[in-house]
Symmetry: C2
Subunit: 328 residues, 2 copies
Amino acid sequence: MFRFYFLICGLFMLLLETGLNAAEPLPSWNESSSKTAILNFVTQVTKAGSDHFVAPEDRVAVFDNDGCLWCEQPFYSQLAFAIYRVKKLAPEHPGWNREEPFRSILLGDTSKAFASGHKGIAELIAASHSGMTATEFSQAVEDWAANDRHPRFERSYIECVYQPQLELLAYLRENGFKTYIVSGGGIDFMRPWTERVYGIPPEQVVGSSIKSVYEVRDGIGVVVKKPELNFVDDKEGKPVGIHHHIGKRPILAVGNSDGDFQMLEYTTTGTGPRMGILIHHDDAAREYAYDRDSHVGKLNKGLDEADSRGWVLVSMKQDWKQIFPPAE
Amino acid sequence: MFRFYFLICGLFMLLLETGLNAAEPLPSWNESSSKTAILNFVTQVTKAGSDHFVAPEDRVAVFDNDGCLWCEQPFYSQLAFAIYRVKKLAPEHPGWNREEPFRSILLGDTSKAFASGHKGIAELIAASHSGMTATEFSQAVEDWAANDRHPRFERSYIECVYQPQLELLAYLRENGFKTYIVSGGGIDFMRPWTERVYGIPPEQVVGSSIKSVYEVRDGIGVVVKKPELNFVDDKEGKPVGIHHHIGKRPILAVGNSDGDFQMLEYTTTGTGPRMGILIHHDDAAREYAYDRDSHVGKLNKGLDEADSRGWVLVSMKQDWKQIFPPAE
């Protein structure tokens, strides 16, 4: 009997303290209709007894990665990785000095490297992403993450993540949400660092993939990456990837481009309380400004339909106090 | 200051009580070398400061389903589902009275239905598993789980699960493991009931799959199942499925057939403490006895190599006090 008394007293006081500490969620978000909408949604679905209450196991939140959780300009970070990797591997491939797209990459002329279109990109991906075990690939990604630098922000790419989104991820998890990444980027390219950077473990990362096969090398079972496409987790692929990995319709989806349209549509056309959020890149001074005509992260249909679908359009310029975390 | 005193007193007393209650884990397992090996392994990897300690996020345990967590004789339960489904749908398909394999299924002659081999099975899977949304398929599985009965045990198939394994799953989770199913069976066939029956949520189920596509029907985004194979999560497919869904090498794998060989090999050839377990069906009286020559759940290579690989061979007859949970 006494133990329950002690326990309840202790827990009550701890909860009180926690409540006081958590007085201001999302500190890097300005007071705005976007922030209010997020806070209201989370309050609504977590309030026991409310008509809009959602059980913790159904509080699934999905986030796009490129342009939603981290910077995707002036080009996708995964392309920066591929280029970094080709430069690193070049001494073992003397022929690359004569073959495109490698020759142009080694000469630093990225636009010429991709003048041949898909063929050049496919060769680059094959050379930089396959022919090694999953563990070796993970090490290659860690090497890049530690050593390559974003050309404009002069910090590692994994430091070019959005501080307000780190806070949103944490706030959702504090409220019983399970947070997932659902990205068009490579699943194995994200997993080595998503737990450290976003607090999202490998099993909660959904992405595009190339084929893998199982082999035994020197008595050790290993998964080997092959130069063949397996799944494209973009556009109508996103709901399919969500179904395959999670097996549940999310209640909250956050994206930034038309590649996320179907993910937001799938999320917000379910029954019960739902929320869709689009991050609008409108801050050329602190990051980049692009939408309808961008070659990367094009947002056109989403801008047209956000209002009629009840999706929240977040202005990076107006709604975010800061873009990136303080430099390390 | 006081709150911590209260909290610590309360927690201490609760822990004491929990400790006393948990005095005997795995109650349906007889005292045996198998049980001892499991308890020792879990103690070893959870003991802080031990050389063999494994951080909670790396305590990944994978379980096969058919013949490992539930009965797979006299045929796979998923085949029973397909037959149940064909009978249910027959009134809408008058032609099935003349077409194989449907004609033989409707006449109750399963062996004749599959005399045509893969073609008949493919047609059966297409008719029973595709052409509907994922939600509709889930409802069809729930209908089958509630109403079909195992021919020998005269209870629902989802009650033909192994009580000792339910206890093992719970014991592992109490010790900070994350438990996954990695099955050759269909991922969408398992997900509707694995949380209720095994305590394993949909996102921790890995399995074989057919292709899915995203569509909008009456304004609602839905995932639709197509009659085309996507992934076979068996044999060398299992490590690939594990890598794709979990992104980590497990430290514990439990199977029962040669279809699980590569999963156990992948798990146990990693560095650090590892455990492989094979359930041996040697109990014809209480369940079934089969191994090297079985058409379902063949265990041949595993029997040959379990000893040299240090895998624990569990005898259902010797090691398990009871097979199934009490009838509901």
